[in-house]
């Protein structure tokens, strides 16, 4: 019998700790599948963030680092400069990458640091209790925007791909979503492309992955995916924001 579906080798068999309906598990699996398919298990080094997904280091079956809040791109820079032939990726939430770690993110991109940032955007601080993130939508209620995010009081949401695109050091920037199987497959392609571009040495790469947080959004899992599709995608349009001049074959 032909085996058509199996657990990726780069994923441990530990059960995920995530809330029901959270898409971190899907994103983890995609990363593991790409590592398997690129046959890069022994050269892959991941950097875990601070936040819900810090325990990604338990789920990916590769050598891992755990970085301080927001500092993963700097940690990745240190690793990659020592081990330039490795695949180095960070896995960061929106609080991690778009708030406290904006400096490290922007400058890793500006330097053209040959790392990949997997940027999980769920429009909220999750682990700390559902506070406003830089990516929280206008009108969105969080524990620190109980009346909804207001532009005068709280500022406007940050669009990370658009922010990084003008930097010459960024080589590949894409925004994908995990709200349905078709988009999950597209997300996987983008992750693979980012890894390929990194290994080719073209520069900084980032995949922004729109994700759900039913717990902090206060929605059942399916409604959360609908909210993601209907509310987040219009403000955070999907697509490739930067590609290398020469197309990467995947």
């Amino acid at each position: 019998m032909k085996k058509i579906f199996t657990r990726p080798e780069a994923l441990t068999d530990l059960p995920f700790h995530y809330c029901p309906g959270c898409t971190h598990g899907i994103a983890h699996r995609l990363v593991a599948e790409v590592i398997d398919e690129m046959d890069i298990y022994e050269r892959a080094l991941g950097i875990a963030p601070v936040g819900c997904s810090v325990f990604i280091y338990n789920y990916l079956d590769i050598d891992m680092y755990q970085a301080a809040h927001g500092r993963a791109p700097a940690v990745g820079t240190g690793i990659k400069r020592v081990l330039p032939d490795r695949l180095v990726f960070t896995y960061q939430g929106d609080g991690d990458a778009a708030a406290i770690g904006t400096g490290e993110l922007v400058h890793a991109a500006a330097r053209g640091e040959k790392i990949t940032v997997l940027f999980i955007n769920n429009a909220v601080y999750a682990m700390t209790g559902g506070q406003m993130a830089p990516t929280t939508l206008l009108g969105q209620k969080t524990t620190t925007t109980p009346y909804g995010r207001d532009k005068d009081a709280n500022g406007l949401p940050v669009k990370v791909c658009e922010m990084l695109a003008p930097l010459d050091g960024s080589a590949y920037l894409a925004r994908v979503s995990l709200h349905n199987p078709k988009h999950i497959m597209m997300a996987k392609k983008a992750i693979r492309k980012a890894f390929e571009v990194q290994m080719r040495g073209d520069g900084f790469t980032l995949v922004e992955i729109l994700s759900s947080c039913p717990t902090n959004w206060g929605l059942p899992p399916l409604e959360a995916l609908k909210w993601l599709e209907e509310k987040m995608i219009p403000y955070y349009p999907l697509g490739e924001y930067k590609t290398p001049a020469e197309e990467v074959q995947i």
Partner: protein, 354 residues
């Protein structure tokens, strides 16, 4: 080998290169800038990497990544920059990553000034960042000693898997002295099985981490670190003694301050006063052993520092109240003047102060 004239800051760079350091991440700040200048030139010559980070915060975390990948790596800064690095230094200590951090102390607090000081003593030896950790902290007093200690700094960092701080002041960084660079053999970093460099199939998984979410685990981690610090305290105390044997009044001073105090002691001795010096070379671990010994014969102690009284607390702890411990300090970039310290010594020696 013939001696060469070197600036203290440059000696740190050359000492690091000779100790096998091949990675430097840092951000400019006075009065340590000659060190990054030197390494920006020197690192490419030895196949190393010099990278100017966007901030001290980033630099400390680049060090984290490079140290986790098994490299001999260093950063340097001064007061305000070291404050920004403290987050990373705490993580480095928590994840037990070997590296060297140089603090060429300037006057503070806040922006203060760029003149020499020893006002970061507490920050260096009592933690500085969050959590329960220690840095091995070396305090050279000459350019030659910088060269020698840089080798030890990297070796100690690897031996104990702990960050090591080189603590000096702006005078030492700017000072030029002839130094013997020693032999040409360049050291290599030892093999580091624990480094996360890519997992071999079937091999052990390596994790560079300071997170222990279960309190029982975190307590065990802290206890294990504490046991390591106890071993370091027992094994690694270093100090210099100067005219100490019959000293009735013992000055304790480190770095540039100790050089001034040696001149004070020579003059005091000429006047028949039995004064000696203990110069801590490791300010952590603090050289309690020598103080425990000397407190039996000395009648009083004087801590001379370029701050408002920081190391004096460690002197008092070591003396355990058995003898009076006095303090003399200048701050804000002002250096103690030998004549003034001598006056203080005479006053104390003649029972003029309590």
């Amino acid at each position: 080998m013939a001696k060469v004239l070197m600036k203290g800051n440059e000696a740190i760079g050359e000492g690091a290169v000779r100790a096998g350091c091949r990675y430097f991440f840092g951000y400019p700040i006075t009065p340590q800038s000659e060190l990054p200048h030197y390494l920006a030139k020197r690192m490419p010559q030895v196949g190393g990497i010099y990278l100017q980070s966007e901030s001290e915060t980033a630099a400390a975390n680049m060090v984290f990544g490079a140290a986790g990948a098994g490299a001999r790596v260093m950063t340097s800064s001064s007061g305000p920059g070291i404050s920004l690095m403290q987050e990373g230094i705490s993580y480095l200590a928590g994840a037990e990553l070997p590296c060297v951090v140089v603090n060429m102390i300037r006057g503070g607090p806040g922006l203060g000034n760029i003149a020499p000081a020893q006002s970061d003593y507490f920050q260096a030896v009592k933690g500085g960042g969050h959590g329960d950790y220690r840095l091995i902290c070396l305090a050279p007093a000459s350019v030659q000693e910088i060269i020698d200690l840089m080798q030890d700094a990297f070796d100690l960092a690897d031996k104990y898997r702990n960050p090591v701080m080189l603590l000096a002041d702006g005078v030492l960084g700017q000072m030029m002295e002839p130094v013997d660079l020693g032999d040409e053999i360049l050291r290599q970093a030892p093999e580091k099985e624990w480094a996360a460099t890519g997992r071999k199939k079937g091999g052990p998984k390596r994790l560079i981490n300071s997170l222990y979410i279960v309190p029982e685990d975190c307590e065990q981690h802290n206890i294990r670190l504490s046991q390591k610090y106890s071993v370091i305290t027992k094994e690694e105390q270093r100090w210099e003694e100067y005219r100490l044997d019959d000293a009735k009044l013992v000055i304790v001073a480190f770095g540039t301050c100790a050089r001034i105090c040696k001149a004070v002691i020579d003059r005091a001795r000429e006047e028949g006063l039995a004064v000696g010096l203990i110069r801590p070379i490791t300010v952590w671990p603090f050289p309690n052993d020598v103080l425990s010994r000397v407190r039996e014969t000395a009648e009083q102690f004087l801590s001379v520092e370029m701050n408002m009284g920081q190391m004096v607390e460690d002197v008092r702890l070591a003396v355990e109240g058995r003898k009076p411990v006095h303090f003399y300090g200048r701050v804000g970039g002002m250096m103690p003047v030998a004549r003034d310290v001598l006056e203080e010594v005479k006053k104390l020696y003649n029972g003029g102060a309590v």
